[in-house]
Symmetry: C2
Subunit: 160 residues, 2 copies
């Protein structure tokens, strides 16, 4: 594997997998009491960030043309509204179950794409715009979502 | 620009620049009082994380074959030792100056590399190993350092 296309896909997916595995282990290992706490005084709780990450990762499915969201109802609570919105949140047990289910779904679908397909357009860019902006491809979604995940991982780690 | 090599370099450098600009703006805009605070109770201070990021980014220079570190003395205080080591830290004013100087140096050097050169080996992998592991290239350093930066940016943002 020496061509830049395959190498780039490997590099990007490696970091995605590393960060996702770290986040999964953290969410698994923190106690319910730890996850109910705010990462810093007055900021988001671990539970909110867990739900937020699930909702953001779930939205990658339609964006990458991998089917519908598994948990569309999470968007309202964990993306459109802040932590202290008063909206009811799923139990932590349920969120952990969602997390695992989504991980499996994403990994299965990611594994099916060829390097060439990763460089094809994602679903929030038009064919016309993609001609002018070919960097708006599926792989770019993984790069930006990895950084989003890492950003919140830095915060979740403060709960330890 | 349609070849995967150039596209990958653009995608990776775009995210690096975005995150670095966010971090730069944050460090510039936080007051000295805010930066002296811990990001969460008992955790690293903003000043320590600022120094840590400078030290880690500075180490990219030799790693990417772009010359010696500008501030080698920072490694001991901000990488080898934790925040509360008792070691004397440079003033915040000086750290902000280092940050800018390093930003300019990195940007200048990054701008000189062709897409092809980004896929060449970095300096902590041997030529022999690089044949077997061609993903250990210069661009990969940017991917991992961007995530490192983003991780701590998530924490620094808690100081706002």
């Amino acid at each position: 594997m020496n061509n830049p296309q395959e190498l780039s896909v490997k590099m990007v997916l490696d970091v995605w997998n590393t960060q996702l595995n770290r986040a999964t282990a953290l969410v698994e290992n923190l106690t319910e009491e730890q996850l109910q706490k705010e990462v810093a005084p007055g900021r988001n709780t671990g539970v909110y960030l867990t739900g937020h990450l699930i909702a953001v990762h779930d939205a990658m499915l339609p964006l990458l043309n991998m089917g519908d969201k598994l948990f569309p109802e999470l968007e309202d609570t964990f993306i459109k509204h802040p932590d202290k919105s008063g909206l009811e949140k799923p139990s932590l047990k349920l969120l952990k179950q969602y997390w695992k289910e989504l991980d499996t779904k994403l990994a299965t679908n990611f594994g099916k794409l060829s390097a060439e397909e990763w460089f094809q357009k994602h679903n929030s860019v038009s064919a016309e715009d993609f001609v002018k902006e070919p960097h708006r491809n599926k792989l770019n979604i993984i790069i930006t979502r990895t950084n989003h995940l890492t950003y919140h991982l830095g915060q979740l780690n403060l709960l330890k």
